[in-house]
Symmetry: C3
Subunit: 206 residues, 3 copies
């Protein structure tokens, strides 16, 4: 057994895992919201707001601990950036839900569900990966798969934009749908940024 001379605060991994767990719940709520009616959507968007708030709390807990801990398990700035990037995923998903409610868009193209499904899968992979940062093990499959998912999201997004411009003649409805679709694409980019950061951290530590 190898002895570790400097004890490292492992609770960062737990906290990152908690934040990522909220992303899984967030993506599930977003999928539910798509299938609901207008009052149902309002209620689910409110729930998503509470999950976002909880994720915010765990991000803040990471930041606070970061500023009070002398030895961190890996580079301080990398933990900070990782926590911020997880936060961005949640913000984008909540914003999409908010816009759907605010814009009173009743019908959304089927491909929007495809976007949200990709986000759900990315959230699950991210939540499974965070605890594995402790041993820096089995992370490569994660970042490769999230990059693949982002490519898939990108293709869905491009098709959606082309479809919107082909099919929607009401410019105001077009503006609304385009913005929702773009915020969901930002969420997919945010998950990819998390995966790229994990890759960078793993390369540094190897």
């Amino acid at each position: 057994m190898r002895l570790r001379l400097t004890p490292r605060d492992t609770s960062f991994f737990d906290l990152l895992g908690v934040t990522a767990g909220h992303l899984v719940t967030g993506a599930q709520l977003l999928a539910e919201l798509l299938g609901a009616d207008r009052p149902g959507r309002k209620a689910i968007a409110k729930q998503l707001g509470e999950v976002e708030h909880a994720a915010d709390e765990s991000t803040h807990a990471i930041m606070r601990r970061l500023n009070q801990t002398f030895v961190t398990p890996f580079d301080r700035d990398d933990i900070y950036a990782l926590a911020s990037a997880l936060d961005d995923c949640m913000d984008d998903m909540e914003e999409a839900a908010d816009l759907i409610v605010l814009y009173k868009v009743d019908e959304l193209p089927a491909r929007v569900s495809d976007q949200v499904q990709v986000l759900g899968r990315a959230a699950e992979l991210t939540a499974e990966a965070m605890p594995r940062l402790r041993a820096m093990d089995g992370l490569q499959d994660y970042w490769i798969e999230v990059n693949r998912l982002e490519n898939q999201a990108d293709k869905i997004h491009r098709k959606l934009i082309a479809q919107l411009f082909d099919e929607i003649s009401d410019p105001i409805l077009l503006m609304k749908l385009k913005e929702i679709v773009e915020v969901l694409e930002h969420a997919a980019d945010a998950f990819e940024r998390v995966a790229n950061m994990v890759e960078t951290i793993a390369l540094k530590e190897s």
Copy 2:
């Protein structure tokens, strides 16, 4: 009296205070611009451009000094990020003024004045807080209040967006107003980012 062994360059606080002072002037000009007629707005937007230029100069002075000073009062990267974030506040306010003139939007909803009023209050609090970085004292009230203001700005913004989509049927006018309102919301976010940075710096130093 406690002796300080490493002299620290305190002029960073003065320079940050100067930049933040320009934000107060900028927010005042933006408020004036809203009440003016078209030629008046053009003249005020030009003045705001000059204030933005002056703020840019003081940001550059901070950056230059940062690169030439060995011992900084707190973490070099934090000063850099703080100066950049102050700059973002100004850029967003100037952009809003520019768009109002460029888009020849004569009438703006009353809530736009509410947005600008919140920016003015945030700018004042920021300008008062910068000199207090020297002693790291009395800063908590500042960041709590700016976070509260950002929440208020966010609520005004959401109501404004809903109002625009409810009341404006001309899609091109809607595009213009939506963009102006969003740039003002970005300015409120930028002030919150400054406050969050000050919080982080204070936590590190405590």
Copy 3:
């Protein structure tokens, strides 16, 4: 002759030069695309996608080497930021090309060519500057000129936006053109960010 005791990995300069070289090709393809017909544009956009992919590869090579090299020619974070910023220039140029094809916009205002010409000049200057980072010599002319070009791009952009709102009455066409013009303006900003980073690096080293 002055001896250097710590050998520094100079291949970073070569890799940055390779990435910047792709930007020159990218800007040339973008200019060609403007003059082509619809099928020609599609083919050129595909080529641009391949150049973007090649630039991505050289950026990744920089990142990988960065994580495996102990002594870097200048601050590790600065190399990282510089490589990312070069990547942003390419992403924006590719996005503009993609949007022109995706939106099936046949006619573009003449000023769009002016925007692309400025990008081409900025790309050339950037590619010439990267190898000069080795000796930190003759860089001032580069960053001053790129800042001047960004100012010029900004003026063209503002005139273009005013022109679009004056001349285009179809709101959907306006949305398309506005977005293309804005992405090109982001590309000019990205080149300025690269130049500002080079300035910061040069000041630190002086």
